[in-house]
Amino acid sequence: MTAAARIIINEIKGYHNFLKLMIALVGLGVLASAVRFVLGLGVTTNLNDVYPWGLWISFDVVTAVPLAAGAFTLGAIVHCFHIKKLEPLVRPAIVTGFLGYSLVSVGLLLDLGQPQRAWHTMVYWNVHSPMFEVSMCIMAYTTVLFLEFLSPVCEKFGYHLPLRVLRWLEMPLVIGAASISTLHQSSLGTFFLIAVDKLHALWYNPLLPLLFWMSAIFTGISIIILEATMVHRFMGQPDESELLEVLTKILPWVLGVYLVVKLAATTLLSHGPLFDRPSLLALFLAEIIIGVIAPMFMFMKREYREDQRMQLRGATLVIAGLVLNRFNVSMFGMEQPDQLIYYPSIIESLVTIGIIAAHILFFVLVAKYFPIFEHHPETVDYSIPDHARRIEPDGGSHGKKSETVA
């Protein structure tokens, strides 16, 4: 055993048991995906010609993309609308987004029948395909998030010249992130516009792309609340509930507009009977009441907005409602009355659990080894000096203002 491997193993031995469990789950997911590639989609999944899209599309792609929307929402709020006191929340959001999108790409590759040809989307263009649009955007946006994620990496290793370039790129990246996200978050809704005679009228309406985009915004905000609260509870980071209060002020507005558009679209624009399937109607009501109406009323109250526990509960409701909504659109609402019901196989579930575990694991590890939380941009001077050398020649810790340049 080499020395490096021993260092890594020793490091892992020091981890909390929860992280070890996550590592085990990721390992299981990797094994399951290996089995999928050896034995094939047909044997290892419960997909068939009636249900060509299952758990991997419904969760790993259609649900995970809005769940990773925190980065673009917060980036726009902080940098474009200039609510600068939220800056400490940006980096964790970017890490979550970058991990989320990378894992969406992994999920997509697993689900493709010919993953080795994924690059075809870049060569053979079909601009009429929402799938083309989404895959191009996801590639572009993962690149943007990667560039944004490079900042803490460069800080960690003290690469200051790239840092300046990244600093200079910051605004274009933030604006690019928001516009690309708008496109692909909404295009995930466009996917289902083609399923005219398949998706139930409770969800099928021409405003589906707009609804998907708006729900991505309030989900992005809720994810940031959930994440900051969890990080405070379990990773010993400072309590950010005062900052989160700003976000909870935005939430009821977005939820309210969403609710109005959604109800208007459902009642005025859908074609087909709305109340013919009681089980679907129940799912629809659950999604609206749990995910939209309840948190909207919660966050309209000042004492709930300020209370950290209520913040967490409201955000969790929004996220649960979003997950239910995406499953309703991509899975439950697509089921025809006389068909067998699809449920995911063990391999499919293990892969999805592995992807969720990987997200948590990588987030904790990134937070452990890179300056994600202790980032104070105002204290670092990024102006170009006379000659390109380190801003902090004394190798001082991050967040300390350098004496020499200032």
């Binding site: 899209w53 689900d111 029948g113 079909n126 009429h128 909404s186 005679d197 398949k198 792309p209 105002e378």
Partner: protein, 282 residues
Amino acid sequence: MSSSTANFDKTKAFLIDTTKCTGCRGCQVACKQWNQLKAEDTKFFSGEGYQNPPLMSEYTFTRVKFKDYQKNGQNEFAFYKEMCMHCNEPACASVCPVGAFKKTAEGPVIYDAKRCIGCRFCMIACPFGVPKYEWSKAFPLVRKCTGCYSRVKEGLQPACATACPTAISYGSRAEMLKEAGKRLKNRPERYYNAIYGKDEAGGTSILYLTQQPLDELGFKPVTKRSLPSYTWQALRLVPGIFLTVGGGLSLVSWFNHRKERIKREQDQLNGAAAPENKEVDR
């Protein structure tokens, strides 16, 4: 993608007169032979009726569905040949991210297996449930009726149309529509008054005449609008939305940054005496 004003009269089309179908399934066998498709095990009563195999699959591009019904106290059979409808504006071609599906000038909708990445969006999009997947393989592809494009482009008729003794006519779409209209007009007592495929999904290259009402025979009710138009009405906004959001946010952030710079400069002017007060604003 062809616009809705495009003329499909000259594309080749099938006219399938189910009242003339004897249920011999010669088309099913001819299709298997021409496309070199494996046979499937016969399982009786595995589907909703007497047909075999129970569903179209990666090995079966076309099959005859059986429907029994009662007429004047007599038991009767109706037959319905199921196959790719070769839509004028196919949903599969419109949603495929790599353009693996193509509507040919001759009429058939063909599939380029070399391009396919296996996303199965075509299967979600097709209103007739036609594209099937090679679920048996580790790296599967889509399989579907090709309209015997290899034959049609050489001037031959598709294998099933050649094999059919009674029910299938093959020719230009305009001719087939005219012929179908003539039959409906001449023998109204024989036919249910509709041509399935004339307007379904914006018009298809397969036209059906039936005796029974369409839904009783298991024909899916399908929108009359061409399917690509449903997604295109959202997708065509993409460049505009990109520019609006990007431009709007650029403007907003430029404005906000400017506001702050002015504020900072003013603070500097006012607070020059006490410089350590304001340094956090970057």
